[in-house]
Symmetry: C2
Subunit: 225 residues, 2 copies
C-alpha cells in the first residue's frame, strides 16, 4: 500500500475513532513530519480525504476535519434513507444464503463489540452491516455513494452522538434481518427506514460543543431586550 493511502486510512480511522475531533487542523508540514514525506504527498492524501468529504480544505487556510452543521448531518442521514431503501429493493431479491450468513456474522461482531464497549469496532461493524446489505444489488457506482455516506455518518455519529448508546443499535439490525429473511421488500424497507430515522433522531443536533456561539444573535440581543 502506498504511503498516501496509508495516511488516508490512518486519518479516516482516527476520525471515526474520535481521536481526531471535527474542526481539528491538519497541517501539511505536521503530517509530513509524522510520515516522513514531503508536503506534496500530504496534499495528495488531504485532497483525497476532501473528495470523500471527511476533511474540509479551505483555500489558503488549511485543512480541517469536516465539521458538519446540524443541517448537513440531517441531509446525510436523509440521503442514506433514500439511497439505502431503494438499494434494498434491488439487493434483497438477489440475496443468496451466503449473503444472509455474512449478515449474521457481521451482526454477531456488532454485538460482541457492543458488549466489549469497543466503540470503534461498533462503528466499523455497523458500517459493514449496511454495506453488506446493499452489496447484492451489485452496482459499484451506488455502492461507492453508500460508502461515502457511511464514512460521513461515522464522523457525524462521532460528533453528535455523545450518549453511551450504540451508534447503530444492533437490536435494529437484528430485527431488520428478520424482515429480510422473509424476502418481502416493503417491510424490510420500512424497518430500514425506521432504523435510519432512529439514528438520525438520536443525534444531539443542538449545541455541538465545537460550534462557535452565534455572534450575530449575541449582538442583536441587547436591541431586542
Amino acid at each position: 500500500m502506498s504511503i498516501d493511502q496509508r495516511m488516508r486510512a490512518d486519518i479516516a480511522e482516527a476520525i471515526f475513532d474520535q481521536r481526531l475531533a471535527p474542526g481539528t487542523r491538519l497541517s501539511e508540514a505536521g503530517l509530513g513530519e509524522i510520515y516522513g514525506v514531503s508536503r506534496t504527498v500530504v496534499r495528495k492524501a488531504l485532497f483525497h480525504l476532501a473528495a470523500d468529504k471527511l476533511v474540509d480544505i479551505r483555500p489558503n487556510r488549511g485543512a480541517i476535519v469536516w465539521q458538519p452543521s446540524p443541517a448537513e448531518a440531517h441531509e446525510v442521514f436523509t440521503a442514506r434513507r433514500v439511497l439505502e431503501t431503494s438499494l434494498l429493493a434491488e439487493s434483497l431479491p438477489c440475496m443468496t444464503p451466503t449473503d444472509h450468513a455474512e449478515l449474521d456474522r457481521i451482526l454477531a461482531a456488532d454485538i460482541a463489540a457492543h458488549e466489549a464497549g469497543d466503540r470503534q469496532a461498533m462503528i466499523r461493524a455497523s458500517g459493514d452491516f449496511h454495506r453488506r446489505l446493499a452489496a447484492p444489488a451489485n452496482n459499484s457506482v451506488l455502492l461507492a455513494f453508500l460508502d461515502e455516506l457511511i464514512g460521513r455518518s461515522s464522523l457525524i455519529v462521532a460528533l453528535y452522538d455523545t450518549r453511551d448508546a450504540a451508534p447503530c443499535a444492533h437490536h435494529d439490525h437484528a430485527a431488520l434481518l428478520a424482515d429480510i429473511a422473509t424476502g418481502d421488500v416493503a417491510p424490510a424497507q420500512a424497518a430500514l427506514a425506521a432504523h435510519l430515522r432512529d439514528c438520525q433522531d438520536r443525534l444531539v443536533l443542538d449545541a455541538p460543543a465545537t460550534e462557535t456561539p452565534a455572534l450575530a444573535d449575541l449582538l442583536r440581543g441587547p436591541r431586542r431586550a
Copy 2:
C-alpha cells in the same frame, strides 16, 4: 474563478462536447503549456476531474479521459434509475409553480437545441432537466450524487450513442412533465424509469470504436478452430 477551476470546466465541457474522446491522453506538461501554469496546478485539476470520474489517472502512466466499459456504462444508468426515481418521490410533493415553470423553460430549450442540431446544448439541457427534477427534494448530498452521474452519463452518451437521436429524447421529457403535473408519484416514477431505460437501451454497447480488440480472444481463436 481560479485557473484550475477554469481548466476543469474547460476539460469537462470538451468531453461532453466530444472534442475530447474517451481514452485521449491528458499530459500534464501539455496542459500546463496551454494554460501557462506549472504541472502542479495541472495535477490538481486532473485529480479533481478524476474525483468526478471524468478522467482516469493510471499510476505512472498519465491521465486519460474516462473510457467506460459497457458494463460501467450500464451501471451508471442503472444507478441513475434507482437514484432518480426515489429522488422524484421526495421532490414531486415539494414542487412549486416556479419549479414547474422552470421545467417547462428547460424543456423548451431542449427542443430548441434539438431543432438547431446543437448537440452540446442538447446534452446540457437534458442534464439541467434531470437536475431540476430532483432539486425540490432539497438535499444537496443526493443532488451532488446526481450531478456526478449526469456528468458521467454525458460522457457515456458521447461515447456510445452515435446515432442522430437526441441523447435524451425531449419527447420523453414532455410526457414526463404531463405525469408530474398530475402530482401522482407512481406514474411519474414509472415514466422516469422508462425514459432512463430507453436512454440505456439506445446505447450501442457492443464494439465501441475506441476499444482495443480483445487480444486474448484473438490468440485463443486458432486453437478453437
